[in-house]
């Protein structure tokens, strides 16, 4: 559609759940002695994301995200920390991949998998904002890859 402004209206993009996560961020901060950490940024707006995970017995025992960004990126990070916590690393990667496909319009969102992050569904229609939503999620993917590489090398 051309020149219609926000397609489904503001409420479609900014669902209440999103604004709620934005105003009350869960899982914010850093982890002392994290198993792996990454720092990513969105070249479009300069937004940054620090992501730390603590891995215990192959599970994400703790996960925290820090950095500034727009409501979408902050809410996405907040939702991620909730839904990824306690997942096995493989499960977490599947989760990220599912979310990525949803954001690119290549999969229907599954609430059982995504939890609150299902509310981000409307973002898929806004290509520029997709990067915001994905920033922390792809950071988790990179973080797990880093972790696996380090532990593989370490022994």
């Amino acid at each position: 559609m051309v020149r219609g402004g926000l397609m489904g209206g503001l409420d479609d993009l900014y669902q209440q759940l999103i604004l709620d996560h934005y105003r009350n961020r869960r899982g914010r901060g850093r982890i002392d002695g994290a198993s792996a950490s990454v720092h990513e940024h969105n070249p479009v707006c300069g937004d940054e994301c620090y992501l730390d995970i603590l891995v215990v017995d192959g599970r994400i025992a703790d996960i925290r995200a820090d950095g500034d960004g727009c409501s979408i990126s902050q809410a996405a990070a907040s939702m991620l920390t909730e839904v990824a916590k306690d997942k096995e690393l493989g499960e977490a990667l599947d989760l990220v991949e599912h979310f990525r496909l949803v954001m690119h319009g290549d999969a229907e969102p599954d609430e059982d998998i995504l939890g609150d992050a299902v509310a981000l569904e409307g973002v898929a229609k806004y290509p520029v904002r997709v990067k915001c939503a994905l920033l922390s999620w792809l950071a988790l993917r990179d973080c797990i890859a880093d972790y696996r590489e380090t532990t593989a090398m370490g022994g």
């Binding site: 219609g4 934005y22 479009v44 940054e48 727009c70 409501s71 520029v128």
Partner: protein, 416 residues
């Protein structure tokens, strides 16, 4: 439309000539396009001129003996005449590129790669667009030269004392923006050019944000190189301009090689065409030059002084309107004599992306991001800003819509 500088420009009437602005949005509201620093809208006559070129006389230029090719060449070169006239520059030293960015890179590569040495310095300001920063960094990387950044004052102006301290015997090039796309600041480019020339350095003035908005006299500025871009001055995408000192252009070895820019090609080597064609390799942006020529005639009929006068009025309205929005911080000068009508701002508690998205739902188009000035934003301690930028078609309506949407936006995101 008269050309008297006494009558103010009638922006509301002008909008009728811009199809995108004249067509209401599906919900019936007007389009409040406040992103002209990114690209301007195009008057119908510019689109018509390009269309007529393609329908009536489309042919490759310069080499055809048949009538249609001669006519194509004439329309193309008339575009150059118009652009040269607008900035008071000799036509033979007015080179068409694909955008302002290529114009700057042309100099960085053609001159810089061949002439720069380790120890040489290129001085740029901290408020340069990436297009006037990265080419110099790239060429410095190849040659071993150094790029130095002159700081910007808290008021958003080039720190002239610092600049005087930086420009010296090692300086080979001073590259500065005429009007900042992020802050709106109008820089004293004549003074900077004189300072650089005194030190024996060349000068590049990025006039991308000045030429569309005010009278610019390239001869009076006196820089070795001056760059601007078609799509921000009512013209099409795909064309930019390098206005260079003629002697400088004669002396320079060519940049891109290919058709059109040669005099002779042999297996032993080649010789070059006269300027400006020596720097225009391959099929040039023909329809684009025709369109840009028409855009210039449109601007000339209105008169660059009147455009500037109008934008000063709009800038003052913008300042007043933005001041009414709680929690809003404007970056850059507040004196409309020292700035254009581009305003970067922050809104407490609302991220620029969210501002941009919310405003869009009200029909207000603004940009959110770093505006290709990351070193500047970092030096100001912000990651991104929202930016509203005006042009000759901007009305009070647009300014009021911006203000009202910003007030609502703040409430909506719960920042109030």
């Amino acid at each position: 439309m008269g050309n008297s500088t006494h009558t103010a420009l009638d922006a509301t009437a002008l909008r009728a000539e811009f199809p995108l602005l004249a067509t209401p949005r599906p919900d019936g509201g007007a389009v409040h396009y406040l992103d002209s620093a990114a690209t301007s809208q195009k008057p119908q006559r510019v689109l018509d001129a390009m269309d007529a070129y393609y329908r009536e006389t489309n042919a490759n230029v310069h080499r055809g003996v048949y009538e249609m090719a001669a006519e194509a060449t004439e329309r193309f070169e008339a575009g150059r005449d118009a652009v040269a006239r607008l900035v008071n520059h000799p036509r033979e030293a007015t080179v068409f590129t694909k955008n302002a960015t290529e114009a700057i890179n042309l100099v960085a590569w053609a001159w810089g790669v061949r002439e720069l040495r380790e120890g040489d310095e290129i001085v740029v300001s901290m408020m340069e667009h990436h297009s006037n920063t990265v080419p110099w960094q790239i060429v410095a990387g190849i040659t071993g030269a150094t790029v130095r950044f002159c700081p910007v004052t808290p008021g958003g102006e080039i720190d002239m004392d610092a600049l005087r301290g930086m420009v010296g015997g090692r300086t080979r090039m001073v590259a500065v923006v005429h009007v900042s796309n992020t802050l709106g600041t109008i820089n004293p480019v004549e003074e900077i050019v004189a300072m650089a020339h005194e030190a024996g350095a060349l000068t590049m003035v990025d006039a991308t944000q000045s030429v569309p908005h005010m009278p610019v006299d390239a001869t009076a500025i006196g820089s070795d190189f001056l760059a601007f871009t078609g799509h921000k001055m009512c013209g099409p995408t795909g064309i930019g301009v390098l206005a260079a000192a003629p002697g400088r252009l004669e002396a320079m070895e060519p940049f891109l090689g290919g058709g059109e820019m040669i005099s002779d090609v042999t297996t032993e080597g080649s010789t070059w065409n006269d300027i400006p064609w020596k720097f225009e390799a391959g099929t040039p942006p023909i329809a684009e030059a025709v369109g840009l020529g028409e855009a210039v005639r449109f601007m000339e009929e209105i008169g660059p002084e009147r455009i500037r006068a109008h934008e000063k009025v709009v800038a003052q309205s913008m300042l007043d309107a933005l001041d009414e929005v709680p929690g809003l911080t404007i970056y850059g000068p507040r004196d409309v004599e020292r700035r254009g009508a581009s305003f970067s701002f922050s809104l407490d508690g609302v991220h620029p992306h969210d501002i941009g998205q919310f405003l869009d739902s009200k029909g207000v188009c603004v940009r959110a991001g770093h505006h290709c000035t990351k070193p500047l934003l970092r030096s100001m301690g912000v990651q991104s800003t929202a930016r509203a930028s005006a042009y000759l078609y901007t009305t009070d309506d647009d300014v009021i819509a911006l203000r009202d949407a910003l007030v609502e936006c703040r409430e909506w995101f719960g920042a109030a």
